[in-house]
């Protein structure tokens, strides 16, 4: 599976109140939540997102704070299939897989990605090709259990298959 797009970059410790402020948690609809993605950081942020052609790139501890699954849902709902970060907060990381959002964790390599860079992410090869800088970043394959959840389209679909098996 390959993904192409341009990056939008955010800093360290982006919390779930920044990703989706609590006042929008009165719905579970992905499109509605997606329209407010990152509104707690910058109300205009969403305007720069091109559905299926934007990657969110973050620093340390992305998704810290609350357990709200609405955070990865809002990102997926905004049309962003992959997040790349230095590191993730534990609950967000687990939620991302469950919601079908790919969270790539690449540590200090994240410094080689700049705002507006054009990337091609190859999930099978485990590479992020930065077409702007010419650099290629590799990442380890996802743990098998996590890949299975993602491939099923999230944990709910995964458990459904298990229950029907």
């Amino acid at each position: 599976m390959k993904y192409n797009g341009k990056t939008l970059c955010v800093g360290d410790h982006i919390d779930t109140d920044a990703i989706i402020p609590a006042r929008f948690l009165v719905t579970t609809d992905p499109v509605e939540l997606g329209s407010h993605c990152m509104e707690g950081l910058d109300p205009e942020w969403i305007k720069q997102v091109k559905p299926n052609a934007t990657f969110l790139v973050a620093g340390r501890n992305f998704g810290c704070g609350s357990s709200r699954e609405h955070a990865p849902v809002a990102i997926v709902g905004a049309g962003i299939p992959v997040v790349i970060a230095h590191s993730y907060a534990r609950i967000f990381y687990r939620n991302a897989f469950n919601m079908g959002l790919i969270p790539l964790e690449i540590g200090d390599e994240v410094e080689n990605i700049k705002p507006g860079d054009e990337l091609e992410i190859d999930m099978t090869a485990g590479t992020i090709a930065n077409k702007t800088s010419g650099k290629v970043i590799t990442f380890p394959p996802l743990p098998e259990a996590m890949a299975a959840i993602l491939n099923a389209g999230g944990l709910a679909e995964y458990v459904k298959k298990q229950l029907n098996a």
């Binding site: 109140d17 009165v26 810290c64 357990s67 609405h70 709910a156 458990v159 229950l163």
Partner: protein, 423 residues
């Protein structure tokens, strides 16, 4: 192998027996859960996921707690619709522990009080502050709604065995210093991601001397250091608390001597000053003397961190015979109906009303910027809550400081961040 508290509790819950060696940090274990929690924000997503999973029934209708506390009393039509959906689900599944209205309170104050969680339990909740129950010796951790839905369907979940950071607290707590200050200090030391994927374990003479309520306050904010759980040994105090909550058969529990810790932090509280976390991260911790004099527009006393009876007693002692500053809204939200009633009985409510406080319902309210005290741009609040992220309590241009209930009460009176001794 000598085990930490986290390893011991996980071991007692694995779905198939495991050796100690299978509990090395990083190992993944499948465990039975004793209680599964969701609230008015997270339960709707859990229910949606349960339906997608095709699960017809929850695993045990007595082991699921659904607490409507964040946007309740329902603040608008959308939140009322969400609560309605959860209520209907609770009826359909015959969920015994459904709380809405007069029996509801802030979930992490309510569940220990009702004895629904207790020593040695394994608890998962679709709320990051589920870690609060570590204060009574439960391994409790927050997860997302869908993980929790899987827990509701199967009665089990997978856990990565965490490394543990030990925090040893010695000395005797001075007046106006409490559990809140111990955890703010810890977060200041570790940073907001210093305990990522890890458990925290608290011990030492100051912890032994601390009440169960104080321990709950500390465990509550383990997540603010990124922690998976904040754990305390189960001692005579814990057992008395659990018994008073109507539980039976709980036993003492401690980490094995010689258990392996990732590292140990030590704190002597003897001459400690109350601490304040400054905007916009809980790790921006300073002694109150360094931030005194900063003006505030609002003070919040409440939440799952510091909304228990002990906290209200501390605040009332400072407010007694004094007046809330004219430029401050001081909002007090006792965390559960039982705490409300107790505060009324003890005369604390009268003291607070006389001082000019606004007494609100047992709700999360402004803690997460839901309702009952939202900040305008340029406004500043000091709260006994647990998070001061930008925009957490309202406008992106507002500021939130975090502190203990004594500092909160003194600040409400002075109108600027203050120590009670300076009033």
């Amino acid at each position: 192998m000598a085990l930490t508290l986290a390893q011991k509790i996980l071991k007692a819950h694995t779905t198939t027996p495991v050796t100690d060696e299978a509990l090395q940090p990083g190992a993944i274990v499948n465990c039975r859960v004793d209680m599964v929690l969701a609230n008015d924000i997270t339960a709707p997503l859990s229910i949606k996921s349960l339906r997608t999973m095709g699960a017809k029934k929850v695993f045990d209708n007595t082991k699921i707690a659904l607490v409507m506390d964040h946007f309740t009393p329902q603040k608008d039509i959308a939140s009322a619709e969400q609560v309605k959906g959860v209520r209907e689900f609770a009826k359909e599944q015959n969920i015994v522990h459904y709380y809405e209205g007069g029996n509801a309170g802030v979930e992490h104050a309510l569940l220990p009080e009702l004895g629904l969680v207790g020593p040695g339990d394994l608890v998962i909740g679709a709320d990051s502050h589920t870690c609060t129950y570590g204060g009574i010796g439960a391994f409790a951790t927050g997860m997302g709604s869908t993980d929790v839905a899987a827990g509701m369907a199967l009665g089990q979940s997978w856990f990565k065995v965490p490394e543990t950071i030990r925090v040893t607290v010695t000395g005797k707590l001075p007046e106006y210093v409490g559990g809140k200050d111990i955890i703010l200090w810890t977060i200041g030391q570790l940073g907001v991601d210093g305990a990522r994927y890890k458990a925290l374990e608290f011990d030492g003479e100051a912890i032994e001397a601390l009440s169960v309520e104080g321990r709950l306050t500390i465990a509550n904010m383990a997540i603010e250091a990124g922690g998976k759980a904040g754990l305390f040994a189960v001692d005579a105090k814990t057992l008395a608390y659990a018994q008073a909550a109507g539980r039976k058969g709980d036993v003492a529990l401690a980490a094995d001597p010689g258990a392996t810790y990732e590292r140990t932090l030590t704190l002597d509280v003897t001459n400690m000053e109350p601490l304040v976390a400054c905007p916009h991260l809980p790790e921006n911790v300073k002694p109150v003397s360094q931030v005194k004099g900063i003006t505030v527009n609002q003070v919040i006393i409440g939440s799952c961190t510091n909304g228990r009876i002990e906290d209200l007693r501390v605040a009332a002692a400072v407010l007694k015979g004094r007046q809330v500053n004219n430029n401050v809204r001081c909002i007090v939200l006792p965390a559960t109906p039982r705490i409300w009633k107790q505060a009324l009985k003890e005369g604390l409510v009268e003291i607070m009303l006389d001082a000019g406080c606004i007494m609100g319902p047992a709700s999360c309210g402004p803690c997460l910027g839901g309702h009952l005290g939202i900040l305008a741009g340029g406004e500043r609040a000091l709260a006994t809550t647990n998070r001061n992220f930008r925009g957490r309590m309202g406008s992106l241009d507002a500021e939130v400081y975090l502190a203990n209930p004594a500092i909160a009460a003194a600040t409400a009176v002075a109108g600027t961040i203050s120590h009670p001794a300076a009033l």
